[in-house]
Amino acid sequence: MSTPATATTTTPATDPTMTMAQALNTALRDALTDDPNVLVFGEDVGPLGGVFRVTDGLQEQFGDTRVFDTPLAESAIVGTAIGMAMYGLRPVVEMQFDAFAYPAFEQVVSHLAKLRNRTRGGVSLPIVVRIPYGGGIGGVEHHSDSSEAYYTATPGLTVISPGTPQDAYTLLRQAVACPDPVIFLEPKRRYWGKGPVDVDDPGPGMNRAVVRREGTSATVLAYGPMVATALEAAELGLAEGYDLEVVDLRSLSPFDDETVSASVRKTGRAVVVHEAASFGGYGAEVAARVTERCFHHLHAPVARVTGLDVPYPPPRLEEHFLPNPERILDAVANLQWERHLEDQA
């Protein structure tokens, strides 16, 4: 089923702020304008403009051979995108919701991720698979999955998730330009959040993490929907005496060890946050690699603040499922500060 589509598109040009949905829409528009090989297709992306309106107005502007509705078949969407890319096109496809990308899983894992390698570089697949993911929007079951772990565990895929409208624009443009397949995870609960967007800002590069807030007490590692939550925690943390550093991972795979390790070595403590369940979740990788690289700088094990290890709950219970600033601060408070005091003493 679809979901409230309250995002609308405005011409951005010099508009200093826009919603994330608008930023994505603008990125697609600019990509379609700049490169005639870019195509946008998926379920309901045409006249409807997508259930989240991210493709709003694109078919009207670019015609129905470049922006079009597909039959309702996700494996076909990814599978035909692969064939099109083999012929030189750059498809940007939309999976309507996280859980509805699963029918395409075989095409993603066995072909999309591997074809460059399988053909010894003969075939590149510059394909972007856009997936609105995560919860917090009151969606019924199967509309709020955080499925990033399935993709980050798959070599050959690049997995990106923006946390701000600016990154939504910049990262999507870079994903479209990327010669490799990109799983582009859009935090649907942030579609309507506003922020400044400078379309000319190249950012630090698609595969770099950024420090969103400098701090000294501990590093909070977040991405996508949780970046805003982490920043909120940092603000609230001040009152509790914590000066938190917030790192927005942006590129889930490949991982920017440099930026992350530098931050954790500096603060000596880390919390990784995501909506997905804890067990086997992406946060395990983050915790493991941070520990591998910063073991002797760590005063406490890397903490994980995650969704519960249960299927995503119905809307009326989701607030208990989702990480929030309080849980992040609780985790921070448990980072063995006694030892810190001992050190200081």
């Binding site: 006249p47 039959p71 309702l72 519960l308 219970l317």
Partner: protein
């Protein structure tokens, strides 16, 4: 030719799997009886029961839409306009039969006798499934498109292995027919000769995508022959023919005749859900056009002409609908208690240590907040 790859088949038998050129009808758009070879008009009592269920279904649907506008439901996919499909099909089921519905099929569930408030649990956001699947012999309202079709086939096959007198009905939308799971379900059902009937409610759209962008087939019913099962095309706004054809297919399934694919041509009078903006993709006049073919009205006209419905009966029916609607409003006004502890129940038969730990942490949090 002989050998494993060469199937000897009889051309006549094969041709019989093709649908008729025009959708089958028993009652035409003007409420008049039509002759339909091989299908009988349901009995008077049945026709009245079907009508009653449609009126109540329609009233339920209207109420649910109203509740959604008031913010009581998270989302509501109305089935207004598909009343004949949903009611005709649901009432064709024997009590021991199973139904595998989608999110769209609220009216079918209500017609099956499931408490309307339980039907709305999913859509209200209170839970994932509001009714007892085993007691109602009804699968959960299914959102991942076409996946329910495979559950239907599996259950039907199990019932057949057990020698039980059970048939199964899987509901699908026109859009869902494009999914691989629909194909796999139809194919496996035919190979197993599973007692299952697939009813595709072709309401013209998959959200915004019209059928012409979904398939190039003459009709969806033409898919049947490719699986070796009959494909039947019916007027989905004629409750009599839907009921009669689905009942016949269920009987055939029960008797070991194998599965049937039925396409019911109908129309979704409302937007995809309350959150959808149908003006972006409907043609002008389309809705109005279909409104003139309202399935409830057609049945009403027929019953009135046949002397099976009079003012009194209509008034009584309307009153019954109002009563049900009022009950539903009351039920929906009650704030449901959502115990966060239930988050952890029924993930596994026995909670794992991991879940126990998380439950304890959540309990602490809640205690602190309180």
């Amino acid at each position: 030719m002989t050998g494993p790859g060469a199937i000897a088949y009889d051309e006549k038998t094969a041709e019989a799997l093709l649908p008729t050129a025009e959708p089958l009808q028993l009652i035409d758009e003007h409420g008049a009886r039509v002759h339909c070879p091989g299908h009988e008009l349901p009995s008077d009592a049945h026709l009245v029961a079907l009508h009653r269920a449609m009126v109540l279904g329609r009233r339920f649907d209207t109420q649910a839409t109203a509740l959604t506008k008031q913010g009581s439901l998270a989302v509501y996919p109305s089935s207004r306009g598909q009343d004949a499909c949903q009611v005709g099909a649901a009432l064709a089921l024997a009590p021991q039969d199973w139904l595998f519905p989608t999110y769209r099929d609220s009216m079918a569930l209500v017609a099956r006798g499931i408490d309307p408030a339980e039907v709305l649990v999913l859509l209200r956001g209170d839970g994932h499934c509001g009714y007892d699947v085993h007691a109602t012999r009804t699968g959960p309202q299914c959102t991942p498109l076409a996946t329910n079709a495979l559950h239907a086939v599996g259950l039907a096959h199990a019932a057949r292995l057990a020698g039980d007198d059970v048939a199964v009905l899987a509901l699908l939308g026109d859009g869902a027919t494009s999914e691989g799971d629909t194909h796999e379900a139809l194919n496996v059902a035919a190979v197993y000769r599973a007692p299952v009937v697939f009813l595709v409610q072709n309401n013209g759209y998959a959200i915004s995508v019209p059928l012409s962008k979904q398939t190039a087939a003459p009709t969806l019913a033409h898919k049947g022959i490719g699986y070796g099962m009959p494909g039947v095309l019916v007027d989905g706004n004629d409750v009599a023919v839907v009921h009669s054809v689905v009942a016949a297919a269920l009987d055939r399934a029960r008797a070991g005749g194998g599965p049937t694919l039925i396409e019911a041509v109908t129309y979704r009078l409302e937007a995809h859900t309350n959150a959808d903006d149908a003006t972006r993709y409907r043609l002008t006049g389309e809705v109005e056009d279909w409104q003139t073919r309202d399935p409830v009205e057609r049945s009403r006209v027929h019953l009135r002409a046949a002397g099976l419905l009079d003012d009194d009966a209509e008034a009584a029916l309307a009153a019954e609908g109002e009563e049900q609607a009022a009950a539903l409003r009351t039920a929906m006004q009650k704030e449901t208690v959502h115990d966060p502890r239930t988050l952890f129940s029924d993930v596994y038969a026995t909670p794992t240590r991991l879940l126990d730990e998380q439950a304890a942490r959540l309990a602490d949090e809640l205690a602190e907040d309180a």
